[in-house]
Amino acid sequence: MSNSPALTVERPSAAPPPKRRASTTKRKQHLAAYLFLLPFFVVFITMLVVPLVYSGYLSLFESKLIGGEVFTGLGNYVRAITDPLFLEGLGRVGLFFIVQVPIMLGLALFFALALDSFRARGSKAIRLLIYMPYAVPAVVATLMWGYLYGPDFGPIAQISRAVGLGTPDFLSAENMLGSMMNIVTWEFVGYNMIIMYAALRSIPTELYEAAEIDGAGQFRLAWSIKIPAIRPAILLTIIFSVIGSFQLFAEPSLLSIIAPNVVINSYTPNFYAYNLAFVNQELNYAASIAFLLGIVIAVVSYIVQLGAQRRERRERGLS
């Protein structure tokens, strides 16, 4: 997929110098563009930038039940990076990311490739079925899984008992993270699959024909043409997953109702920030936790992207 540099070089000299009249129309066009963008910027600034700045401001204070608000500078941040609960939660979502994301994206890629190769009737229905869990709100999904996991009346436990395997405890401290991974995987495989599938559909079919003439089978086709072609889409799903994993909230928040002794208030950083703000009434500290989490996500996303770019460059250099 390398561009030939020779083509681009000619362009500047071919372009005629811009005329005056053209520039007025251009200005008009620019004005129109800004006008169209205005609604977005209004919402963006009022709903995102201002709260973000305000939250950053808040995170520099410490508020106590006795004595009120005092400026502490980076005190909250220092506290956060030495807070075992926060670090534990961060470790937990880190583990979640490392284990769950490859499984989820692997499955999504597999389904996308399978659907792409299998263009017979019925593939539409299957696509829809795989995608469907994503349409189920996370809240409902977690409640549903909470029931399925139930040790006494959950169907899984009942079947397991019926065949003499004992009662699996999906909600114990050891298994909880795995149970959450399962829920999230179930929910988001379809979503990621659709992204990859859409990318697959945009690959020009001539490439396949050429490969077929060269004698490539389906697997070779997938490995050497399809996957490299949709690499940007895969990268996108990885970035989404970084953010999703590190921001894990709905699942712990709902499962904590069923197993409050396992899913503690600091189970994930996001859940911790929420509980700090609303249970412990430590709003300022919660704001700094939220900021730190944001920084962690930005850094991890950047590393992922950097890794991908470096790899691409290396491959380009080789070819």
Partner: protein, 468 residues
């Protein structure tokens, strides 16, 4: 949620509110959830003039306030309380009350605190559970009701309930319902184990627990692993005073006293012998356990008998009610678990009318009786507790027993002085983590009390309190 109105919001209730989705979003968007709420939450200190507290309100002022067209807002999660409010509006046609249910338990308090901090949008009257009153007294969010004549109501209430709303000279709220604790048990299961009388002492209870487990496989009761309210109720019964608050900056935290550890050790032993289960309560598994005989009983509060009827319908007629087992034979003491009051917010612009609403709902004869017999809130008012239409009610679910009468008697045995700290949200949430995990794992509960104590003291000191 299938809970009865007076039910203490089970600890689990609190987390289900705001839910973010694990959906893709930009890194920038992150933290915005916390941030926007931050916007709402911070801001000015509770504004508003807290009415004239220069002297008692005269009858004239009251007349005037009640005959001036006024709009009041009332935040409560009691179902159908519109009916009682309608009685109030009938009595005072100039006053228009809007009832709003903003959520139950912790969700309700979060919104209340946000509105108070924001300086606008707070109701005039709000339901507040007893243990949370100090957390609103601390930021001076509640109106002292003494100048409005609330002191005169004291005699109409069982003493310990009144002490909950008025630990000092001030009166912070009007009691609405209470939860004196008793023992609900399955007569048939206990009989199958040869036990014909409800265990009178905790020693008897332990013996009975063994007999029941051996004979029927049932647990004599379940100790909700994360249910701080129940454990604190047991402490209350045992005369333990784990908390205290002087109304300003000093708190007492003593959850790991020798007496508390005795109670803890008692339960530890039963749990480790597998005679008491420790399932988390107020969820489906637990409801099923009550209905299918996994638990042969429940040490619970006065709001529970009606609650249980809805949960374990199929076992109607098999249940009986009795007082809690006692620590020493011949004693008659109980604790309290749950219950609510109605408080007037300091920011209310119509404090007189607001006070009259809180008072009317819980004191008007018809309204108070309605709360007790239609919403099944267990009454703290002496007049209702003595009214034959209430106490002589026979309950089929309990084999025709006069359950209300029993709890009315129990109510007189509740220890009168029990206090809280102004951060019970935190106390309950750390209970889940320090105690809940240990109870669920059948560990040493007494040792967990030490950990809980340390966490609480640390938090209190971080928050600037002087810890006694």
């Amino acid at each position: 949620m299938g809970e009865g109105p007076g039910t203490p919001a089970p600890a689990s209730e609190k987390k289900e509110e705001k839910v973010m989705r694990n959906a893709p979003r930009t890194a920038l968007a992150l933290g915005v959830g916390a941030v926007t709420t931050a916007l709402l939450l911070s801001g000015c200190t509770p504004g508003g003039d807290s009415g004239d507290t220069t002297g008692p309100i005269t009858d004239e002022q009251r007349e005037e306030a009640l005959s001036t067209p006024t709009e009041l807002t009332f935040w409560t999660w009691v179902p159908d309380i519109e009916n009682e409010v309608a009685l109030f509006e009938e009595a005072y046609p100039e006053i228009d009350v809007t009832v709003e249910n903003v959520g139950q338990g912790l969700v309700h308090y979060q919104k209340l605190r946000s509105a108070i901090e924001a300086g606008e949008g707070a109701p005039d009257v709000a339901q507040v559970e007893y243990q949370y009153i100090p957390s609103f007294v601390l930021p001076e969010s509640l109106l002292d009701l003494t100048p409005y004549g609330a002191d005169d109501l004291a005699d109409g209430y069982v003493g310990w309930a009144w002490n909950q709303v008025s630990p000092g000279d001030e009166v912070w709220a009007i009691p609405q319902d209470v939860g004196p604790m008793g023992n609900l048990y399955r007569e048939d299961i206990l009989a199958a184990a040869g036990i014909t009388e409800p265990p009178a002492t905790y020693d008897d209870y332990a013996v009975a627990a063994k007999a029941v487990k051996d004979a029927t496989g049932s647990y004599i009761s379940n100790l909700g692993a994360t249910q701080a309210g129940q454990m604190i109720g047991f402490f209350w019964q045992a005369g333990i005073k784990p908390f205290g608050y002087d109304g300003s900056e000093t708190v007492k935290i003593d959850v790991n006293s020798a007496e508390a550890k005795e109670v803890a050790t008692y339960w530890t032993e039963l749990i480790q012998a597998d005679l008491i289960s420790t399932d988390v309560d107020f969820n489906d598994t637990w409801y099923q356990g009550l209905a299918n005989g996994k638990y042969a009983g429940w040490l619970t509060a006065a709001w529970a008998p009606v609650f249980l009827q809805g949960t374990a319908e199929s076992t109607s007629g098999l249940w009986r009610a009795a007082p809690l087992p006692q620590w020493s034979a011949g004693e008659e003491v109980s604790g309290n678990w749950g219950g609510s009051s109605d408080a007037v917010l300091a920011s209310s612009e119509n404090p007189i009318a607001a006070y009259e609403l809180a008072k009317f709902i819980n004191n008007d004869e018809e309204s108070a009786m309605m709360l007790a017999t239609e919403q099944f809130l267990y009454p703290p008012q002496v007049s209702v507790l003595e009214d034959p239409t209430f106490v002589d009610q026979q309950s089929e679910f309990y084999g025709g027993q006069e359950v209300n009468k029993l709890f009315a008697e129990i109510s007189t045995t509740v220890d009168t002085d029990f206090e809280w700290v102004p951060f019970m949200d935190y106390v309950y949430s750390t209970y889940e983590e320090t105690m809940g995990t240990v109870i669920a794992d059948k560990g040493d509960i007494a040792a967990a009390l030490d950990v809980w104590q340390d966490e609480l003291v640390k938090y209190a000191e971080d928050q600037g309190f002087t810890v006694e």
